[in-house]
């Protein structure tokens, strides 16, 4: 459903992506892992069009993603940001219903609110939360509201950017379970970037390891622990010794 072909991107002459090839299919969660600074976020932003790649292309449903079809792609897209990225000037329910209220034609306010409440219930949040502002919520609740916003318009594609960063282990488990359920129930094409290996094992169908700007390893989540690749082994073990050099 989404295919990356030879994606390259440099910043100030320093290459971050050096020809990334990757395919994500409908109904699966492809988890991209990699060390900090390995280019995972750049990869997501290239797909979204927030960063223009120097070379290569992104295909969606077989067609090259560009100015002609990006609006169509984004209309079928939802994303959970690392810090939730909720709009702090509006209450929770308006955050969740943002796309519905600003679509053309826009959904009537009462209908949009009802849809927002359904989505909040889907992520385990009560109606009481709907009229609070994001600053009044805990980090875990903000992530769940972000998840509700991502699914509010019935997306075909979902991106999760470091979904468990900054959460306690219990809340991380809650978010992971919600992500796994949503991907399975909605049958969407999901791409997650993370370096939380516990999370990877809970939500991934397939895994790709990004290292030095290229996909170093890809395979089923079940093969993560048994592959002899030294980079993968170091990353999975979280060992300071090995071919992955700390950035900076």
């Amino acid at each position: 459903m989404i295919a990356l072909e030879g994606l390259c991107k440099s910043f100030g002459g320093a290459p971050v992506l050096r020809g990334v090839d990757l395919v994500a299919e409908r109904g699966e969660n492809l988890v991209v892992i990699g060390a900090s600074g390995s280019g995972k976020s750049v990869l997501l932003k290239c797909i979204l069009g927030l960063i223009t790649p120097d070379a290569g292309m992104v295909r969606w449903k077989g067609a090259a993603l560009g100015p002609d079809n990006r609006a169509d792609f984004l209309a079928r897209f939802g994303m959970l940001f690392q810090g939730a990225a909720l709009f702090d000037s509006m209450p929770v329910w308006r955050n969740v219903a943002f796309r519905l209220l600003n679509a053309r034609p826009a959904l009537p306010v009462t209908e949009a609110r009802a849809r927002a409440l359904d989505c909040l219930a889907r992520v385990g949040l009560s109606e009481r939360v709907a009229d609070l502002y994001p600053a009044e919520l805990s980090g875990g609740m903000q992530k769940r509201v972000g998840l509700a916003r991502a699914i509010a318009a019935g997306p075909e594609v979902l991106f999760f950017d470091e979904p468990t960063t900054g959460l306690d282990p219990v809340m991380a488990g809650v978010i992971d379970r919600l992500i796994a359920d949503i991907v399975r129930d909605l049958g969407v094409c999901a791409i997650t970037i993370t370096h939380d290996m516990a999370s990877v094992r809970r939500i991934a169908d397939r895994v790709a390891l990004l290292h030095e700007g290229r996909i170093r390893w890809r395979g089923d989540v079940a093969a993560l622990g048994s592959d002899p690749d030294p980079v993968l082994r170091q990353f999975v073990a979280g060992s300071p010794e090995g071919p992955i050099a700390p950035t900076g």
Binding site: G49, F81, A85, F87, R99, N102, R104
Partner: protein, 260 residues
Amino acid sequence: MTATGALAALGRAAIGALRAVGRVALFAGRVTARLWMPPFHGSEFARQIVAIGWLSLPVVALTALFTGGALALQIYAGGARFSAEAVVPSIVAIGMVRELGPVLGGLMVAARVASSIAAEIGTMKVTEQIDALVTLSADPLRYLALPRVLAATLTVPVLVAVGDAIGIMGGWIVGVERLGFDARGYLRVTTEFLEAGDVVSGLVKGAVFGFIVAVAGTYAGMRSGRGAQGVGQATKAAVVGASVMILAANYVLTEAFFSA
């Protein structure tokens, strides 16, 4: 440093400043072009009318009141040197309406609004809220910049008009209470002396200054660097940029309206 080196440095600074002006102008053009492209975010526009216009009223009114009073005292003292104390009402009126009302109003709005816009949008950028807008199919220029630019362009002339009236009132209070002018006579001279062109030029200046303030704030916010320092620098750049552009635009507009 040699003379050549100094000239080269001056040239680089001038080219840098021109580039910055060009980038801001292109940004302003991209925002303005969206005026004719639906959708228009009416609720965000209404929110900005209140935030930029209504909430700036106290600071603009107080500035105008004290400026009008001080102007009356200065003109009286200066006019006394050649026995022209009677010009106080007419000079206060023309000074407030043509120059001090719009310029001081614009600068006060720049301090209050450009900083607030830059800080808000800069924080939104740092916390990925602007990226989130894109992923939710909302154009950040249309959703964030256009309502602010439009609201400031429409409300600052109203603030200027209110400031003009309050500034003249400040001059009237000082003129009557401290300088011994007749209350009715002061107002009669003011209304007889002012022409429609004086008022219109001030309101046009207000609209241009409002546009500059909002463009400077949104531009700086959207180019904000990372972290608290980046947002702080964006805020400073917005206020300094807006203030300098207001003063430059004021000279150009004054030339256009009043040059012989």
